[in-house]
């Protein structure tokens, strides 16, 4: 549609709209652009704030192929695959941090996996659509197998 309109401008050699209507349309464009740009709620996922809120000494469980942003903002964070064979296999993991970003797309039912391993959701924060979950193990000795 955009190309068609631009070509129409070119073929006719004059604007489709009257000058005042065109100015009005540009005013509407500018208004919506500024609303988007100036109000952070409309921006994309806030990885920057999420990474700042993470403790540096705890590993993060997530889909590793989607962890580029996490590594960009903090390359020293330990990222562990959000998979059944990795969860609960390390001693001292009474509480773990999970970022379930793209888990659904990858078909990983992480909630079921964690519940089966006696973990329970204890805290959840949202960073503009990006979820950060804390899961606690109800029975830590059984998780290490």
């Amino acid at each position: 549609m955009m190309v068609t309109m631009l070509l129409t401008f070119s073929i006719l050699g004059k604007p489709l709209l009257h000058r005042s209507s065109g100015a009005g349309l540009i005013g509407v464009f500018l208004m919506f652009s500024l609303i988007y740009l100036l109000i952070p709620q409309f921006h994309r996922e806030d990885w920057k704030s999420l990474v700042k809120s993470l403790p540096s000494n705890k590993p993060v469980y997530m889909i590793t192929s989607s962890s580029d942003v996490l590594r960009y903002y903090n390359n020293s964070l330990k990222v562990i695959p959000l998979r059944s064979d990795f969860i609960g296999t390390t001693v001292g993991q009474e509480e773990i941090i999970v970022i379930p970003y793209t888990a659904e797309i990858h078909g990983v039912d992480y909630q079921k996996i964690l519940q089966e391993k006696n973990y329970r959701l204890v805290n959840k924060k949202v960073f503009r659509g990006l979820e950060l979950e804390h899961w606690a193990n109800l029975n830590p000795t059984e998780a290490v197998k």
């Binding site: 500018l30 988007y36 590594r71």
Partner: protein, 118 residues
């Protein structure tokens, strides 16, 4: 007339700079990882065969980031400059109204043409 065009492009440029340092998202961070992790040859031989985009954008970004760094603004600036360059082409083809329509369209040219990814 030339003065008017310069003002229009200056406004379009400054609008694109607003919140340019907002958080990266996945595809942009992938660009950052690729240009940090691979050299020019490896982008072609190791990364591209497993990706569905041609390698030229990443090769250009490798060159660009070697010069200006890996910050959010640095990663997004080529998209800003190329969108303005596209605006110049649109201006030459369609005239001032076409260029204005292109440069200030909020759905496409403000949001997508400032991202550090393909």
């Amino acid at each position: 007339m030339k003065y008017k065009i310069l003002i229009i492009f200056a406004i379009a440029f400054f609008i694109r700079l607003i919140a340019l340092n907002q958080s990266l998202w996945l595809d942009e961070a992938t660009t950052a990882r690729v240009v940090q992790q691979y050299n020019y040859q490896e982008i072609i031989t190791k990364f591209s065969p497993n990706d569905f985009h041609p390698p030229f954008y990443y090769l250009f970004m490798k060159l660009w980031t070697n010069i200006v760094g890996y910050s959010e603004v640095a990663l997004r600036m080529p998209s800003v400059l190329f969108s303005l360059a596209t605006g110049c082409v649109v201006y030459l083809i369609t005239g001032i109204w076409g260029a204005v329509f292109f440069l200030f369209n909020p759905l496409i040219f403000i949001t997508h043409k400032r991202q550090g990814c393909i």
